[in-house]
């Protein structure tokens, strides 16, 4: 367990020292959301209707932006090879990296999303569900993204390949995340949608590290 914590601490320290990723992801998220009122016009009714969709789609894209670096830097400097030879199983290491990735991207996204909802005139009833949905959904984005990041290691234009691999897998999260917010603003219960997001996370939590670790081993052979 302590090796797991050590790896998470190292990832967080690297993210803080290099400063780029978290700030870039949140910056991209905020700026893109701000573009929408300019693009579709400032009418509150229109913005309120599309707010949930915009927030979720942009969150997916922002998370995707930082995934390319998840294993790439370690792969380039030989750290990945060294990590693969550590006693801690590679699956657990992938989980540690996903946790760190979520802490520096998914969590900040979740925290700024309500502020941006304000900008988009999101209905008051939608906020708790938006927060809860993002809390359940963004860890899945990191976990599924890790599979794509591992598979696209070493490929040229890996970032584009990563998007093509991962975005289709994000569709269920998008559907249920948006549906949860729309249900609550429409006066229905968001519970089934949130439960499905939770189920998705419960599935990704054990399966994604297995798949990503297998892909990493393939890349290292």
């Amino acid at each position: 367990m302590s090796a797991f914590r050590l790896l998470v601490a190292r990832e967080l320290r690297l993210a803080l020292r290099q400063g780029g990723d978290a700030a870039m992801v949140v910056g991209f998220f905020v700026l893109t959301i701000i573009l929408f009122p300019f693009g579709v016009g400032p009418e509150p009714e229109l913005l309120a209707r599309i707010a949930a969709g915009i927030l979720w789609v942009t969150a997916l894209l922002a998370a995707l932006l930082s995934l390319e670096r998840l294993f790439q830097a370690d792969w380039e400097d030989g750290s990945l090879e060294a990590l693969a030879l550590m006693p801690l199983p590679l699956e657990a290491q992938v989980l540690a990296k996903c946790l760190a990735h979520w802490l520096v991207t998914g969590l900040p996204l979740t925290l700024v999303a309500p502020l941006l909802g304000l900008l988009l005139h999101l209905d008051a009833a939608g906020y708790p569900v938006l927060l809860l949905g993002l809390l359940l959904g963004t860890p899945s984005l990191s976990l599924i993204g890790a599979i794509g990041a591992a598979l696209s290691l070493g490929a040229r234009r890996g970032g584009v390949l990563l998007s093509l691999l991962v975005l289709p897998l994000y569709i269920p999260i998008l559907i249920f995340g948006v549906a949860a917010v729309e249900a609550s603003t429409g006066g229905f219960t968001a519970r089934p949608h949130l439960l499905l997001l939770g189920a998705f996370l419960a599935g990704a939590l054990p399966l994604a590290p297995l798949a990503a670790a297998a892909a990493l081993r393939q890349a290292l052979e």
Binding site: A3, S79, E81, M86, P87
Partner: protein
């Protein structure tokens, strides 16, 4: 205890039997045997491309041999790869360090991942103590190599696999490495290394990979 089998290999040895390695379409070597007892050193020599790095990677469990088996005390390492990882150190061509971490942080991380905590000893062994608070991006190539080698001392492991460890080392670094290997072997540790320059290692076996090279195909 385990019942002695008919296997002629003596116990307490790291050994390989009729190993073959393929890279792409090319069979790099085949029919390679070695036995390394506790305290032993195995020096891999041979021209570029003869498979020294490939053999070291096979020994580390990175990739699988085309044929043959690697065994530790008679147990194939494939059967318990976690135990094998726990007992080896592999220092390859890349230094696996982050520009923004300091020398001490970098060493503490790699040692800690293996449950070791002799960071000060590792730094002292390779004369890195004065550089402990330097960020790794300021290190020269030779200093980076020393830091990579310091991991060997910072978290003890019985098997060292070193791929051309002398690259970039100065005379002091060379002497430090030879001394570190000597101490490791005196405690019963094993070392396998590839090199193009002669190393003064007492009682080391030399394995010339040119003898196992397969041409053509």
């Amino acid at each position: 205890m385990t019942v002695p089998s008919s296997d002629p290999a003596p116990p307490a040895a790291f050994s390989g039997r009729s190993l073959a390695c393929r890279r792409g379409e090319r069979l790099v070597f085949a029919g390679l045997d070695f036995t390394l007892p506790a305290g032993g050193a195995l020096v891999l020599t041979g021209p570029n491309g003869s498979g020294k790095s490939s053999l070291l990677r096979l020994m580390a469990g990175l990739g699988r041999p085309e044929a043959g088996t690697l065994a530790w005390d008679g147990t194939p390492v494939r059967e318990d790869s976690a135990a094998h990882r726990a007992r080896l150190h592999f220092v390859g061509h890349q230094d696996a360090m982050k520009p923004v971490l300091t020398v001490a942080e970098s060493l503490a991380f790699w040692a800690g991942m293996r449950g070791g905590n002799s960071v000060a000893a590792g730094l002292a062994r390779f004369r890195l103590t004065p550089l402990a608070d330097w960020p790794c991006r300021l290190l020269s190539a030779g200093q980076r190599r020393r830091l990579a080698l310091a991991r060997l001392v910072a978290s003890p492991a019985p098997l060292w696999l070193l791929d051309e460890p002398l690259t970039g080392l100065d005379a002091d670094g060379f002497a430090d490495l030879v001394a570190a290997i000597g101490e490791h072997r005196a405690e019963g540790g094993r070392v396998v290394l590839s090199t193009h320059a002669p190393l003064p290692l007492a009682g080391a076996q030399e394995l010339s990979l040119a003898a196992f090279a397969r041409r053509g195909a």
